[in-house]
Symmetry: C2
Subunit: 252 residues, 2 copies
């Protein structure tokens, strides 16, 4: 049997259910789609009383068949950061298990996206489509996230903007780099939705002990060069309740 | 200190982190905003080795100040279903703690919304705004959820439609009742988006051991009178990858 196991956000966010399952499994971990830091790996290895093997990107992309085939004769757990199944990689493993008639179970856990929308204080039902600011390369500089933000704003909906994750750094794009991409997108589309004074909420390390929620401006966010797990929210026009909620929740 | 503790979806979805915290707290539970069944309460009470006190709706709405005041001198944990902070009730407790300068910490857990979007096999980035089909009373029959579904479809975005939760039944609106409201909304708006043959995904008890995901039609969903925790997804035009993913994930 194959278990796709969410380890949640914090190092000890794994559920009791998942921890019990893992004790009877060969345990692997993938750290490519979202953050699983060394502290978490050590903690989980001690908790399960067993070694945890790393799956590299090639294992996941090319050896899904082999991993699943192994799960036909023994219990295999694949740990992931956050909640499984948002990433395509996890769905491929799930489907491969179905194809090979190997039992597959997903163990859900805390999700950064749910935590971020909650901790923002904004009304969950007023979020529109989510988008990601990808890391740019010299040749590939997509700016289509701007269209999502603009469409959400035009319907008076909030935009949750995720920042691309760098597995090799254990952090997302910095706010500084993200704001530079946002300003370049503004330069391209010229609809006037992203300017120095535009209000945004910046969310850092949400669900961890050092989380930070700030209502700030694009200009101030641009000055932020620290590393961490970031997301940016472009709020639509705030309701009175939302204003009070944000003021109340971010009170020091 | 006040802890807002997500207990997740399944009875043993609580995180190890949260379970450890609760052992040092007076523990209360609210069962009004989402499902926490008796099995879960028994399990958690045994796990913590202590009695769990129920908070009724009045406690939550009128006595938030008192509950928080108690947390000034001792550790108080308030358990909730799923992930905290989606519900206004939880935000009110959070804000009240800030007002009274009482420390407050949120312990995140698995969220039905994250689990449903993942288990659907649909591309997470193609979901638009979420809406809820509320329970109707004789006098109050809102149909505005239709506008959200229609707008999402017009932008080729999927709609996650939650069904109102009945705490006194421990289940949501049935599919049968939800479809009747959807059809009445169609009758009102007449845009032709909800008809007998319209394809929908019905999601039942997602994250529990008896979860069901079905690609079906409005007509077939209407025949479903079983109780449970339901949600409905109105998919936009499926991409090839989504088609393959759904076929693969729902393979028997």
């Amino acid at each position: 049997m194959l278990f796709l196991v969410g380890t949640g956000i914090a190092y000890n966010d794994i559920s009791i259910r998942a921890a019990e399952r893992c004790k009877g499994c060969d345990v692997y971990i993938e750290r490519y789609t979202s953050l699983v830091d060394d502290e978490k790996v050590r903690y989980l290895s001690e908790l399960f009383g067993k070694k945890i093997s790393f799956l590299n990107r090639e294992d996941l992309e090319e050896k899904a068949k082999e991993i699943v085939a192994r799960a036909a004769s023994k219990n295999i757990a694949i740990l992931v950061g956050g909640d499984p199944l948002t990433a395509t990689t996890h769905k491929i493993l799930f489907i491969e298990a179905k194809k090979q008639s190997v039992g597959v179970e997903v163990l859900h856990s805390s999700s950064a996206i749910s935590a971020i929308t909650g901790e923002s204080g904004l009304d969950f039902y007023r979020f529109g489509q989510v988008c990601t600011i990808p890391r740019w390369s010299d040749r590939y500089k997509p700016v289509s996230f701007y269209e999502t933000i603009e469409r959400n704003l035009s319907h008076n909906l909030h935009s949750l903007v995720l920042l691309d994750y760098y597995p090799e750094k254990g952090s997302t794009l910095s706010l500084h780099d993200a704001v530079n991409e946002l300003l370049a997108a503004e330069e391209f589309y010229k609809k006037g939705i992203i300017e120095g004074g535009t209000k945004v909420m910046t969310m850092r390390n949400i669900g961890l002990s050092n989380q930070e929620v700030k209502m700030t401006t694009i200009e101030e966010a641009k000055a932020e060069v620290a590393s961490g797990m970031f997301a940016v929210i472009f709020p639509a026009k705030l309701s009175e309740v939302e204003k009070e909620t944000i003021d109340g929740m971010t009170m020091v």
